[in-house]
Amino acid sequence: MNTLLVLDKDSKTKLSEDLKAKLVRTLEEKGHRVEVFELGKNDVSPCLGCLLCLTKHPGECVNKDIVNEIRKNVKKYSATFYLTPVLFGHSSSTMANVMNRGTGSHHWQVIIGFGEDIDDEERSTFIDLTVKHHGKADIVHPGMDNQVDAFVSRSMEDNRMICEALRTSAG
């Protein structure tokens, strides 16, 4: 099972490194072959909102960067995991640029936000933003993605619990 893991290399913290290590270990134990992309602000162009990747040349972005390469190969992944810092309840700009450009597996996407000072409202905003409208609840692009899960980690203990929850679903 090929699994893609994308994370924000400009926002590494002890918490995110611990999460990455635990997550990779959990997935590998479950038989996933994990391919990791660590991307930074200068690696990733933002989505222009042109929709040409959905219409004129499906699956191909007008921005010819690493994200376009990931997107072209998206069908080979049965799951995509994103690790993103959370600011104001939103993913980082780098990770938003990756996610907004259709890099997620159509089967299963897991979006994990992290940050030690995320407050409850930001946590709730992040969860709603990433789950409420996606997967089966997507009314704008129904049927595009099958399953989208979201978690927020504010501590090493949260990391452990998230990986424990994923251990059940990653099999």
Binding site: P46, L51, L52, L87, T125, D128
Partner: protein, 215 residues
């Protein structure tokens, strides 16, 4: 005179619906009464957004974010501006606490009440974190359709009222909470779906040959 910073959060250049809404709002903010600064997000930023852009936000009495909904959230380029502004303020730069903040968000879906809520919450969280004065949002369904039909008289009285209310609220001193405006297109959803399909199929969503460097 009140200083108003209006941020265009779209990368679609002259074809952006956000730009049209921004211009319409600007008409309600006459130069004699308001000192306006216009900022546009960038596709490529070297290190951080330039200091003059960030200081314009810091000096403003009011900030209006005008942007398209991306994946139910903020466009990455706008999120980058918020990140850089947050970082800029954390270095101890002076800024006006209590700056009034407004949002005009447009989405591709005809029912803005069902799609724009989380993006607005992100801006509210931004205000709470920075002690800014969140005021209200104008959430527009099917932005391109509203832009294409807004010239027809009497179609969008609530949108005009929303612009007028932003102008009066920036000028006025009351702190009463305002409700968000939800603007739905007047054209039936089935016709919108047909227009959307044509619009997407013919690739009219962006100026031809626009690359990140040119945007």
């Amino acid at each position: 005179m009140k200083s108003v910073c209006i941020v265009n959060g779209s990368l679609r250049g002259k074809k952006a619906s956000s730009l049209q809404f921004l211009k319409d709002l600007s008409l309600r903010l006459p130069d004699a009464e308001y000192s306006k600064t216009f900022l546009t997000v960038k596709a490529k930023v070297k290190e951080n957004y330039p200091e003059d852009m960030l200081s314009s936000l810091a000096r403003a009495d009011a900030i209006v974010f005008v942007f398209p909904l991306h994946n139910y959230g903020l466009p990455g380029a706008l999120m980058r501006l918020l990140e850089d502004y947050h970082k800029y303020l954390r270095t101890g730069r002076e800024y006006k606490k209590g700056t009034k903040v407004y949002v005009i968000v447009n989405c591709a879906f005809p029912r803005p009440g069902e799609t724009t809520g989380e993006a607005v919450r992100v801006i509210r969280n931004f205000c709470r974190r920075l002690s800014l004065d969140w005021r209200f949002a104008v959430c527009i369904g099917t932005g391109p359709v509203v832009v294409a039909t807004k010239g027809i008289p009497f179609l969008y009285p609530r949108l005009k009222k929303a612009y007028a209310e932003i102008a009066s609220d920036v000028r006025g001193g009351d702190s009463e909470r305002r409700s968000d405006y939800l603007i739905k297109p007047v054209i039936p959803e089935s016709i919108i779906a047909m227009i959307k399909r044509h619009y997407e199929r013919t690739g009219q969503m962006i100026e031809k040959n626009t690359t990140p460097e040119q945007a």
